[in-house]
Amino acid sequence: MTTARRTNVSAVGVFLAVLFAMTALLSLATGAFRIPLGDLLRIIVDGPARDTVDSIAHDVFWQVRLPRVVLAVVVGASLAVAGVLMQGIFRNPLAEPATVGVSAGAAVGAVLAIIVGLNQLPLGVQVAAFLGGTLSTALVYVLSRTDGKTEVVTLILTGIAINAFAGAVIGFAVFVADDDEIRSVTFWSLGTLGLATWKAVGVVIPLAIVGLVASVGFSRVLDTLALGDRSASHLGIKVERVRLQAIAVVGLLASSAVAATGMIAFVGLLVPHIMRLVLGPRHRHLLWTSAVLGASVTLLADLAARTLLSPAELPLGVVTALIGAPFFLLLLRSTRRSQGGWA
């Protein structure tokens, strides 16, 4: 008798909370300028206005580390939750903002803005990235629908086409760009948290919070969608309307994340996978645990990006893909074995 393996939710919650706290503290303490843990805690207790430790450590913490950590948390959580939503609404574990081309669309927006010179404007690139992401979300939705239904295979193929197109646009941009612009374009297409400022954080946080809160409302409906569109509609769910709403939320989460940090690969794909293996597929738990794990994973990846080749900084997307791709292949194999593969 093969009973489904499920880990207790409370245990997972405690583990994730500890993991998150530790990675956050480690990220705040570690870097080109090291802050000892004792000093770190005193700086936090002192608050931004007071300084009883060391003025450099104080400034590094409040102006460099903390906004960077906050941004990593918000972006990581957003990407992971966007992945959960997308996989749920399209009933496919391969759907995520990157595979269907939403992230690439946002990156194209950013890259075009850099080439045109919009990066001179405050937040010009971020706004362009957000528009690019939203536009490609709408495009994916429209193109992958036939007869009022969205077919998963069409969706994935549409994503391949959009990704190829985006790759070409970014390639062309690199071709015509000067050296400065190329550096900037590279960071957008590979992702970085190095641009984290309180201003950037202030723009992303409200969008992310709206998206994250909205996602909670989809949990039961996403469970039921696993039965297929037809059975879900027999249970009283307005399938296409829900799908449209959820895609809007995905567009919001993914576009704002990419707008703040560029493309960060694999978080949206991998994190929901891991949580589904641990907890099972119920979205009520999948959503918040993925948010916490997504935040922790992004923090860890960023820590690696800025310390492995210090003082040089690796693009974050390079780190997540280097670790994420092999790990994902392993996951694919074990998922196939334990769940009998996907239709």
Binding site: R6, R91, L235, G236
Partner: protein
């Protein structure tokens, strides 16, 4: 729990092909209505039309005297449940979780009790913690039916519910269907097995090439002449020693 279903002069045209033309069907509380006919006759299309899956080209479907279009989705989901022919479930949900999805239109204090009763009735209690994907086809069919039962509706629409069951499971399933009818529910089922229809159906509707060629009690409708004509196969109806009618293809 009184319920009535009435489909009148239903016509369904898709991509220029007439799938159903002028088909009518009635089902009241306490009735099991079987939809029969050869492959491609339009049985599943009729069930889909009754379920409200797509708009009709013409005709009307009413539940309790109200057109389907006048129902809010949730209200309709409390009025009728649908068992599709086959279900693939995209994530590794457990049997209990899947049956619990049937409570979606309700979400009330009765949920736990109804889920337990549905698991019990379909004899899948011991499978409750297994994932759907690891079950045999017959087990999956019973789990899907348990989900439909958890929805606790006065009208049930079942598309070939016994197709993948062995003869023992089939008999147990039909006993359950009969008990549902005895509780005052109405059941409309697409069936392939004519003998099953003969023994269990209150009324049958026979479709052929998208049209209704006969309807009424199985004893009056399922005649050798009609069946031989519809199935393009000489068919005889004989009576067993204990007086039951049995439908058999004739030898060549």
């Amino acid at each position: 729990m009184s319920t009535s279903l009435s489909a009148r002069n239903v016509r369904v045209v898709r991509n220029g092909a007439v799938l159903l033309d002028d088909v009518s069907l009635e089902a009241r509380a306490g009735e099991l209505v079987a939809v029969l006919g050869p492959n491609g006759a339009g049985k599943s299309t009729l069930l889909g039309a009754i379920a409200g899956d797509f708009p009709l080209s013409s005709g009307a479907v009413e539940i309790n005297g109200r057109s389907l279009a006048d129902y809010a989705p949730r209200e309709l989901a409390r009025s009728r449940a649908v068992l599709p022919q086959q279900i693939t479930i995209s994530f590794p949900f457990t049997v209990r979780e899947i049956v619990a999805m049937g409570r979606g239109p309700w979400l009330d204090d009765n949920d736990d009790e109804r889920i337990a009763a549905a698991l019990q009735r379909m004899d899948v209690v011991t499978l409750a913690n297994r994932t759907y994907q690891t079950l045999s086809v017959g087990e999956q069919a019973r789990v899907s039916m348990a989900r439909v039962l958890a929805q606790d509706t006065p009208l049930l629409l079942l598309d070939e519910p016994t197709a993948v069951l062995d003869i023992g499971q089939q008999e147990r399933f039909l006993a359950i269907a009969r008990s549902l009818v005895d509780e005052g529910r109405a059941v409309v089922a697409v069936l392939h097995d004519l003998n099953v229809a003969m023994r269990y159906a209150t009324n049958v509707v026979v479709l052929h090439e998208g049209r209704c060629v006969a309807s009424g009690t199985p004893q009056t409708v399922l005649t050798p002449a009609l069946l031989s004509n519809v199935y393009h196969q000489k068919i005889q109806v004989t009576t067993t020693a204990d007086g039951r009618a049995v439908i058999l293809p004739e030898h060549h």
